[in-house]
Amino acid sequence: MASDVREQAHGSVASQLHSSEEDRAFDMTTSEKVVELLNQAALISTEEKLIVLKQVQELIINKDPSLLDNFLDEIIAFQTDKSIEVRKFVIGFIEEACKRDCELLLRLIANLNMLMRDESVNVVKKAILTLSQLYKVALQWLVRTKSVSDMQEACWDMVTQLKEDVLALLDSDNDGVRTYAIKFTESLIITLSPRTPDSDTPKKQEGDISLDKIPKDHTYIRYDTLCDEGKLALEQLLKFMVHPAISSINLTAALGSLATLARQRPMFMSEVVQAYETLHANLPPTLAKSQVSSVRKNLKLHLVSVLKHPSSVDFQGQISTLLLDLGMSQSEISRCTPATVQPRKRLHHEPYVEGKRTKMVEDDDDKEEPAPVVTPKPSSSSGTQSSIDLTAEFLLPLLNPENVANLVLISMVYLPEVMPASFQATYTPVESAGTDAQIKHLARLMATQMTAAGLGPGLELCKARDEEVKEEDGGMGESSSKDPLIIRKLSAVSLGQAISVVGAQQAAYKSPVTEEAPQIKKLPEPILPTTQPKAPGASGRKKVFKLADVVQPFSEAQIEKLANMAIKRILQSEKAIAQSGMSHVRVKLLARLVTQFEGGKKNDLLQFILEDMRGRSELAFSLLFHEYNEYLGQQPSGSLDSYEHCLFTLLSGLQEKPEQRDGLFTKLVLEAPVITDSALEVIQRYCEDESRVYLGMSTLKELILKRPSRQYQYLNVLLNLSSHEKEKVRSTALSFIKRMYEKEHLKDCIEKFALTYMQFLVHPNPPSLLFGAGEDTEVAASWTEETVRQCLYLYLSLLPVNHCLVHELAAVYTEAIADIKRSVLRVIEQPIRGMGMSSPDLLLLVENCPKGAETLVTRCLHILTDKVPPSPELVERVRDLYHKRVPDVRFLIPVINGLEKNEVIQALPKLIKLNPIVVKEVFNRLLGTQHSEGSPSMSPLTPGELLIALHNIDSSKCDMKSIIKATNLCFGEKNVYTSEVLAVVMQQLMEQTPLPILLMRTVIQSLTMYPRLAGFVMNILARLIHKQVWKYPKVWEGFVKCCQRTKPQSYNVLLQLPPPQLASVFERCPEMREPLLQHVHAFTPHQVHSIQAHIPASVMAVLEANSRKPEPEPQPELHHPEIIEEREVCCDEAEVATDLFFCFVMYIRV
């Protein structure tokens, strides 16, 4: 009939048709014309051929059917035409011909069978359509025939076989073919079920055959068999509908078919409504959003059409609920509901179902469930229907708020990650939540799901009942008793595949199913073939070629192997492809391929890249970016593992390779989209390699400056390197950090790090992180010089840049233990010197001098003044400190040359009491005899003044021993204390009154050093006599000793002594008397005259009187006078300790 319509469109064909009056006259010519046309058709193009063939068809079917038989073979010959359209025409022709003359079926059905297996789907589709028509034609024809011939039997067998084949095509791979198969199934069900008075049959199909027209006593056609086949077809259609991956078009078609079935065969109303219900609750998750709307629109349309049918009366509740859910208003629904309905339609169905059994079921219904059943169900309702009702009944009282809340909570776990489009589309806020109606609806929804999953009391009950029925049935026909079983089995299987959005129960039991990823695209797999395409049967028909039948899927291992080999080939074709200039394609391809695979291939590729990293860097980058892309694609749940592995391997490879100096490493690091932790470790290792430390750190620096988001992490790596054990690594790191320290935003971080490290020093033991991760940390390791330094490297390098930090050091210093203090003092020289004494912060430190940090401050002062004279500011601060806060004279030493003369003199007593080494230092400073070759500092005291000051120290302030030691130091400096200087000193001392105690000691020392001073000394001695030197016991003692030493020059001086004093001299040294007497006697007369005149008699008396006493009295104390011996040092031990430490402070050098 399709061709009919098409023909109308073609005027050319119509014009060639002749009116019926002329028929007879042109009888001959019709035949001739057909021959002519057929001859033409063999030669012309497809399009014209179609026109011509249609003319022929018109002529031999409608105009002169008697010709049909004659030309049949000629037309059928076109079934092998290469044009699809021509083959389709042949099918159309077969249909028309068979309709015209049923007998032709015998000859043509085989051709249809052949065309049904045509390679073109469009031909197959056309064949399916034709079979829908011819099935009815064939059935009718056979029913009419009273005695069926063998030929007819064979023909019917083939028709039946074809029917089965088309039903099997419900599982076809082709969407369109499936659609046609659905329509065929629909038509088949209509034909194989009885028409009833309430059937809504289209006018044109009034005459069509249906089950009710088939006599039950037909010789060949079995009513029961056909009836079963019809039911089976319905089952297949219903099963097809619930496939979770059904395409939207198939679903649409099936929905329409169901509506047709419900209207034309109201006995199926129950199955149809139930199928709609199930579908509504389980829209296939594979549908896209717009497809969901299309399907819902269709569902609504068909539900309305079903609702309009009078037999829907028993299902109005369910249908309205569905329609409400689909967004139709109550008023619209009522408008579509048939107004007057006959209450008991079901009576009309009875002729269909075998009377006896129906009654029994009804009887059972009445007996077993007398009250609870809601509405009287149509007798045709299947077991599933009632079990849903029962389960819903059972659930209803259980749906209290608490249970529902629990169900919701439990089902949360099973919700898919992405909301399926179907759910999104179908979700409408529940307006009537909590009302009875809504709870009933919910109970029913759940019951549908549970029954489908094979659960619930309703199902149990029904099963039990069915068993009973079966038993009672006893010898009943097998087919009928099998019926409910089949349905149940089917629904259990099919709904196991349906993905539930609502039903938590199902999800709980079928979790593997729910894990099926909700894909939006096409069908992943064609419908599961439950009925295998039949093996070539007795009819000897050819098997359709299906690729899937002849090929075996590879095993995992084979796939793996093939993929590996393919990738290897691409890898190895490097040169060939490079020559062809398509290497960028190869790179892209490799990267993409490998990114998608796990494990082995990736490593192979990485290895390949590393073999010649320079040459294959492009590949490396491409791979890296692809990996990253992959990761981005999987957001937000993606993992960086794969990317990380890739980056890590590349970097490690570069790092481990020696002599890779072309900056590839840097490039890789800087271009990598993300630096992962492990990559950072590689960078760190790279930096630790002494030969590449500079490159590594430059890279790190770039990272820090150009990747602000994680710069602190990178910075931390660099900072950690600043305390590295390798000197080169450390110093490079420090210089990089110093440069970075100038950047305002990094400053804080660096500073914090440095201070944190320094803070470690206050701990009793060094923290484990100083030992690096590798070493097994002994918890109680003690501080060593090295560990202390590690904590300070960074800090000390920052100090000259940021002077404020010095205060932190002081704070830490005060808390640290002695060992650490020592180390600190040792390492600060450079930075402190770098700061210079004009640094305000350093001055501030001196001014504040925290308690406990005195040694630190002193050390700083020493460092500062080591080579240069102290600045007035510094001197001022120190003076201040000394006077106001810490009266420790040692502070003054470094700045001593900056002090006023009197200050120095005041401090002297304290200074000389210090440790000899310190005292020496002080003197060095004061005397300008420091070992430095810098500008000589200007001492406030001249050497002479110093010596004099020493003599004038109040002995109550300082013990004589120290003073003597101090003067000895002066005498030690022969270069400074020349004879002239000493002469001046002696001169000045001698003029003092009272005489300094040490005067004579100094005189003697000077004399010892410079014997040529003897004359001058005589002079001094003579003048001392005038000053009545004997009044100062100590000086007098020295005087005597000096005379003794300087004899014989001193004789003249002795002679000037008054007699008592001379006597005193002799008392002390009796051995002097004789030589002196002889000296006097030895005077020449001239001398005698001149001298004797001066030698009073009393003196002579002393000289001579005692000459009789020859015995010399040894006087040990004169040989070892206390004041002259200076060896021993007696101080208490504590004093010694601090002084020693202090010496240490001054002399340590880094």
Binding site: A2, K125, G256, K297
Partner: protein, 194 residues
């Protein structure tokens, strides 16, 4: 590719603007195309939104044109109605109602959801006979000249793609998904049977 050209129907509500624009373009591209309206009357904009010009489907484009020229030539020139009618009468004589056409198509394209619903209702209410499928696709197009032009091109592209498929029914789903992504509008799609 099917040997016969795709038989296409383009349907809007009044068979004036959207369907005619598409009809125009499709026929120029060689499609076997017809256009229809689904409304009970043909409505054209009038002097005010609540005063449209209403004709029945028997009125020819020519008659409408003359009627409007008589009523207010300037207004209808300015809003493009006369131009549109002028174009329409070159394509065919008068608007056609989809529900009255018994010809079979391979593809029916509707221009708004309401029209789509009406087409579906009509097709489903017909008695099925041959089971020849017809695909109905809705492409939402606003009823103004610019959108009509854009929509017509989209429809044309869609038809060309469908025409070029080897097996239209097998590839339709995928094709529409692609088009949805490309054009960022949802297509309603269903199949009906004659």
């Amino acid at each position: 590719m099917p040997a016969h050209p795709l038989r296409v129907a383009v349907v809007c509500s009044s068979n004036q603007n959207r369907s005619m624009e598409a009809h125009n373009i499709l026929s120029k591209r060689g499609f076997d195309v017809r256009s229809f309206g689904t409304g009970t009357h043909v409505k054209l904009p009038g002097p005010a939104p609540d005063k449209p010009n209403i004709y029945d489907f028997k009125t020819t484009y020519e008659q409408m044109y003359n009627d409007l020229v008589r009523k207010d030539k300037e207004l209808y020139t300015q809003n493009g109605i006369l131009h549109m009618l002028d174009r329409n009468k070159r394509i065919k004589t008068q608007p056609e109602r989809f529900q009255s056409c018994k010809e079979q198509f391979d593809l029916v394209i509707t221009c708004e959801e309401r029209v789509y619903d009406q087409v579906l209702e009509d097709l489903n209410s017909r008695e099925q006979e041959t089971f020849q499928p017809v695909h109905v696709i809705n492409v939402d197009i606003q009823d103004n000249h610019e959108e009509a032009t854009l929509g017509a091109f989209l429809i044309c592209e869609l038809c060309q793609c469908i025409q070029h498929t080897d097996d239209m029914e097998n590839e339709m789903d995928e094709l529409l998904q692609e088009f949805e992504e490309k054009s960022h509008r949802p297509f309603l799609h269903t199949v009906c049977f004659y």
